[in-house]
Symmetry: C2
Subunit: 280 residues, 2 copies
Amino acid sequence: MGEANTNTWIDGVPADALPLPDRAFAYGDGLFETILLRGDRPLLPEFHLDRLGAGLQRLHFPDCLESVRKHLAQAAASSPDSSPFRVLRLTVSRGPGPRGYAPPADCRPRVIISVSALASDPTEMAAPANLGETAVRWARQPLLAGLKHLNRLEQVLAAADCDAQGTDEVLLLEQSGAPLSVSAGNLFLVAGKSLLTPVLNEAGIAGTRRRLVLERLATACGLRVTESRLELSQLLGADELFYCNTVVGLRPVAAFRDRRWRRHPVTRDLHAAYVECLRE
Amino acid sequence: MGEANTNTWIDGVPADALPLPDRAFAYGDGLFETILLRGDRPLLPEFHLDRLGAGLQRLHFPDCLESVRKHLAQAAASSPDSSPFRVLRLTVSRGPGPRGYAPPADCRPRVIISVSALASDPTEMAAPANLGETAVRWARQPLLAGLKHLNRLEQVLAAADCDAQGTDEVLLLEQSGAPLSVSAGNLFLVAGKSLLTPVLNEAGIAGTRRRLVLERLATACGLRVTESRLELSQLLGADELFYCNTVVGLRPVAAFRDRRWRRHPVTRDLHAAYVECLRE
């Protein structure tokens, strides 16, 4: 299979290939996290590990968080280069197993980590984005809602649609028609001194940056924040819109349908508070 | 990674591990087929390739069916053992790609095939099954309905629930409450000279054995067959119930809730017609 890629590890061992069979490959039977590294330090590790732990429980994996912590620290410390920030993807697969959907009784999860360079600087707020729309809607699945599991075809299709349109991001609705997220991030709207974000109990991914806005950044900026079902009309009437994920941080929206936003003072404030968190 | 497993091939080359990165592993970005081999011959290959081809189109993969055909024939002919039947799993992954949901412009799909022994004899009708129930419901996703794609967490959770209950299979409902399938197979009910099976335009997998019943076996047995939305009361009131998949063929249901079925004459007829098809 060629030489081992020194930026990928499986259970702590440098690897360039995943031993087969593997249930992440076979069924998307696993979870992942995309973690920002500053130097050799993972940022917001507890937010990532909390969500991962919740997913492990929901999918009835054996508790392997201690081994995840160990492999995460090891990979973050390995092969640092001169760039201030890197991106680490941490995947937990249910591991090997015989043919068939049922997980094996003696399942042995695998931790697969890869580290990549980051072209952008997450401390700089990205240029305001053009937000398109996609016909790809989130399926309603309360058993999996909020988790960052490996069944991501909806987002693959939405991201492909976004690329085809040439927009920066696309809005995904729930099957019911309520706005839920962008293809790779959570959505917030600003209305006066309030923030609103879609509730995620039926679909979507509960992002770590979303949690940070809810628990710390809103308060730091003197804003109230509410999770609720949103309507498209609320997006179009908002003072500002932004989306957030680990790689871009918080990114304001410049245009959606016929609406334009030229100033983004609240998003800018929140982004400044976010950068402070990254520096802690 | 140890020695190559001679029962697995990637793009025609014996392999024991999947080169990383790979989008089937990262996002479940791919499709699969479970194909019965009699000796070195794939059974119902066109049914499998039709569904796979439809999936490749729906997911906007490059057309790689010719290469799939070639690798399927090669793997089926390799390492035959003395068993009359084997099971071949054929997976098409979107292949490598950089971080991020959007498929790369120059995507190079991979064909991963593994062949396993089959403990059971698909020409013998399996003993009537005890059918349990699961709280895992199919999400409604018309864009993916019918495909045998790699996002299979719902079925993993349902199969785990089935194992925990100790039943042979479990019934999965749609979110709306309509019966849709079992964890690994399609569902039919017999009412007089009619067969009914759930319509699959919003969820579920359009099984090859389901298609065979619809297109050939029902007619061969003098039955009408209809796809429609089913109610639980129809299942409980049915003359017979059966489910079907590649590995078990057609399997009658012996018990569901407080209902017992002691005779399965229609399922038995259909199974006999099925065995004839396997012999063609």
